[in-house]
């Protein structure tokens, strides 16, 4: 993670090679494992939990499945931005399981007819991990940034990705605007005009809108900006890899929930229904939930949440997207062409 930008182009290449190699190796590698049949499960995921899946959860599930059935499971993993992954799956990428950052992206797949069962029927309404939107600041917080309104102070430079290309950016705007609407900032409760003013003041300080949340935090790591609006897990993972930045939890912020669903049509086609269901169920087990927490993600499982409560600071006023009326409503009022966000951006066009 040290010289990250240079290697931004590498993962896709490596992935391509890995897929090629995996594809080539398929025939030769099935033979030397005569202990049982080998099955292949394809996971289409967003990029954030890549390490958690690749290093911890997938190996654990492979063990678990072998013990239970004697079968070997080989995983084919693809990691893309959440929206791009959803579109890839709709466009014909035959993932058996989709692990995405936004409910709306799972809905995209469901609307295309590829998810036929109610994917919210699981124990946590189809969600496997959580995080919150926080403010990353430089070591020692030299600019004294504590809460949303501090980001609007003149002279600051703030990072947040482009809402058109990043689901994460939408979470950020919802967190800030929602916090203001709830009276979590100096704006009084329910005062949408003040909330819009605050959003404008913050966006005015944004000089770079990267295409994704990852690119945004990578730029922050390179020394760009005084603060970055980002996910808590991005900061925690960054700190694990030696970054010195810190984060501030705003008084009011939004709870991010990340869904996982079996892509029924593909699982059916590959004869993987049982395997895919088992994998999704495995993600809710304490073992998998704990693995997610080591990569900075908050668990959905209550027991594990109590175990790790020291790692994750409590939030005074934690709200969800449902408090903003749910995603369709939030997209309509905030991100539509005549929505709050576009209005604020248009009002800033004169700024040099």
């Amino acid at each position: 993670m040290k010289p990250p930008r240079l290697f931004a182009a590498v993962p896709p290449l490596v992935l391509c090679c890995a897929v090629l190699v995996a594809g080539c190796g398929e025939e030769t590698h099935t033979d030397p494992t005569p202990s049982g049949p080998v099955r292949t499960l394809t996971l289409g995921a967003y990029t954030t939990p890549r390490e958690a899946y690749g290093k911890a959860i997938i190996p654990a599930f492979q063990r678990h499945w072998r013990e239970q059935t004697g079968e070997e499971v080989r995983f084919e993993e693809s990691y893309l931005g959440s929206g791009a992954q959803a579109r890839a799956i709709v466009g014909g990428f035959e993932a058996d399981v989709a692990a995405l950052s936004l409910e709306a992206d799972v809905e995209t797949i469901a609307k295309a007819g590829l998810i036929q069962r109610d994917w919210r029927a699981g124990p946590h309404q189809g969600m496997v991990t959580r995080s919150i939107v926080v403010i990353a600041v430089r070591a020692g917080n030299p600019k004294g940034i504590r809460d949303w309104e501090d980001l609007g102070k003149s002279g600051l430079e703030v990072l947040t990705p482009n809402v058109r290309t990043s689901g994460g950016a939408m979470w950020n705007v919802c967190a800030l605007y929602g916090a203001a609407l709830r009276g979590g900032t100096s704006a009084s409760k329910g005062d949408s005009a003040s909330a819009e003013t605050l959003l404008g003041a913050v966006l005015k300080n944004v000089r770079i809108m990267d295409k994704g949340a990852r690119e945004s935090i990578v730029n922050f790591e390179k020394g760009v900006g005084d603060a970055a609006i980002t996910y808590e897990n991005e900061v925690l993972v960054g700190r694990q890899s030696g970054q010195t930045y810190e984060y501030q939890v705003p008084r009011a912020t939004i709870l991010i929930e990340n869904p996982v669903a079996v892509v029924d049509a593909n699982a059916e086609k590959h004869g993987n229904r049982d395997l895919a269901d088992a994998f999704v169920a495995f993600l809710a087990t304490p073992e998998a939930q704990r693995a997610f927490t080591t990569y900075g993600l908050r668990p959905v499982d209550e027991t594990v949440a109590t175990e790790v409560q020291d790692q994750f600071p409590a939030v005074q006023d934690l709200f969800t997207i449902r408090d903003l009326g749910g995603w369709p409503e939030a997209i309509r009022t905030l991100f539509a062409p005549d929505g709050v966000y576009e209005r604020v951006m248009a009002s800033l066009r004169a700024v040099p």
């Binding site: 182009a9 929206g83 000089r207």
Partner: protein, 276 residues
């Protein structure tokens, strides 16, 4: 085998080749273009016009046009100079320079963007110095011009080079013998035959710049109305599930590129220059 059948065979072969190439071009180029245009017209011409003239889109197209124009002007000048140096002078490192000219085509443009951020970012000495001077380059429109300059280096150089190679030194010598000064020789003898090549190379670099995404998206900052170019706008529209808006701006860029391609062809035909 008798001669008439041989000729018939050759004719058939030519016909097959020509139709094969035409079909290839149709499948590879015309079909996708057609699909795009059709997609852009889902809401009719009025819808396309609306999407392409929405303030964000219009501003993005404008930014793309002026940054590409600035790049093209610099490129015309520096590209010609580079070609001149490569053809007219023997110097150490000439082979290296020639190889360097082609390098930008071989480097993924995304990598170009990454390099520029490393070089000019606020943490680098050069970037810090520029910021201190009050000329922030990276994450500002200037960064777009720099990225475009990098990725289009070969166009003008490689267009002008063959013409320079063909120039007969006798013309220049004759002019001098007749008493023309250095400037007169340059303006009246050397430059005129180069102009078509400079123009066509410049136009091609401009057309290439219109569509550049990979490097620009990394260096520009992508702020709507300020540093968001047309290709990034298109990318955003696709990513946010609005293919109609994406197709509309794409059609505008496509129309411009087509016009420019024809202009470059026209200039080449008139002057008999062939692009390398």
């Amino acid at each position: 085998m008798s001669r008439p059948t041989e000729i018939a065979d050759v004719r058939r072969g030519r016909l097959a080749l020509r139709s094969g190439v035409l079909i290839y071009a149709a499948v590879l180029v015309v079909l996708p273009l057609g699909a795009l245009v059709q997609h852009g017209l889902v809401d009719g011409l009025a819808g396309l016009w609306r999407a392409a003239t929405a303030p964000v889109a219009a501003q993005a197209i404008l930014l793309t046009l002026w940054t590409a124009t600035l790049m093209a002007v610099v490129n015309a000048f520096m590209g010609t100079l580079t070609a001149w140096a490569l053809v007219r002078y023997e110097f150490t490192g000439r082979g290296l320079l020639s190889a360097l000219v082609d390098l930008p085509f071989a480097i993924p443009t995304l990598v170009t963007g990454v390099m520029l951020v490393i070089l000019l970012g606020p943490q680098s000495p050069l970037g810090g110095w520029l910021t201190a001077l009050g000329v922030p380059v990276i994450f500002a429109p200037l960064a777009i011009v720099v990225a475009l300059l990098f990725i289009t280096v070969p166009f003008v150089v490689r267009a002008v080079e063959p013409v320079l190679l063909e120039q007969d030194p006798a013309e220049e010598e004759a002019a001098r013998t007749l008493g023309a000064g250095t400037w007169t020789v340059f303006w009246r003898v050397l430059l005129p035959p180069l102009l078509p090549a400079i123009l066509s190379g410049t136009i091609r670099s401009f057309a290439r710049a219109l569509g550049e995404l990979g490097s620009v998206i990394v260096v520009s900052g992508n702020i709507p109305y300020r540093t968001l170019t047309a290709p990034i706008h298109i990318f955003g529209e696709i990513e946010s599930g609005q293919p109609g808006g994406a197709a509309a701006v794409s059609v505008v860029l496509l129309a411009l590129a087509l016009l420019l391609a024809f202009a470059a062809r026209g200039i080449e035909r008139i002057s008999g220059v062939h692009h390398a």
